[in-house]
Symmetry: C2
Subunit: 140 residues, 2 copies
């Protein structure tokens, strides 16, 4: 994934957010870490370069990034939030045996769904987004 420092900086500037070392580090962590990290993964990652970062700051920043649509939360069925730096429309493959979550891009599928729900309206409900969660086993 893009770990270009200027691209990261731009995301903050575009949202009129102050560019702080903490925000930069947290965003860089999210883009570098795979498997949709939890807050603690991010804390561990940034501690190397930023040993004095406060836990509360990480949660605060994550909240700000979500509000500004720079990152997303990933839905899970357990009570630890996971974060996702990919904002392009995509879906997720959940391993039923581990906590692995892989990204799944499929424009054809998106088209089929868009088409389907344009025809078949759901009564009293206006769709804003569609997320598919595929649960299963990864080979190897």
């Amino acid at each position: 994934m893009e770990i270009n420092i200027d691209i990261i900086k731009n995301k903050l500037v575009e949202s009129r957010l102050k560019v702080t070392p903490q925000r930069m580090a947290i965003l860089e962590a999210i883009y570098s870490l795979d498997n949709h990290p939890i807050a603690d993964d991010i804390i561990d990652y940034i501690k190397i370069k930023h040993p004095n970062i406060a836990t509360g700051t990480v949660y605060k920043v994550l909240g700000v990034l979500i509000e500004n649509k720079i990152i997303n939360k990933v839905n899970t069925e357990r009570g630890v939030s996971r974060y996702d730096g990919i904002m392009d429309s995509h879906h997720h493959l959940y391993c039923s045996k581990s906590d692995l979550i892989k990204d799944y891009f499929d424009e054809e599928l998106d088209k089929i769904l868009k088409n389907y729900f344009e025809k078949k309206k759901i009564p009293d409900f206006n769709i804003e987004s569609i997320a598919i969660q595929l649960k299963g086993r990864f080979n190897e």
Copy 2:
């Protein structure tokens, strides 16, 4: 939804689980409460008839019911677990403004998806289940 006491009892017996007042009450609560209740909703509901139920028991029972595939957890992006008594294949409509989650049944859609993924295999991944989360606004 079915709030028949014998049907509830049967679900426990079929899974070779002891039939206890607590388990009966918790299952009855899940079937009676709408909107995919959290543990605390269930606790509030059953307190009327079972004022001395322990919080830990509720969590324990919910875990047992999930293990035995009598209920399910619902995926959300926040750290409070929600429970679902409907085990028939269905999807969920998430309100983007409130915590409302409605069930969505659509056999036609299920067929389309089943068909789609039978043709288009995902490399190194065996699908066990497909869950769609539609996020949007409810009218009224």
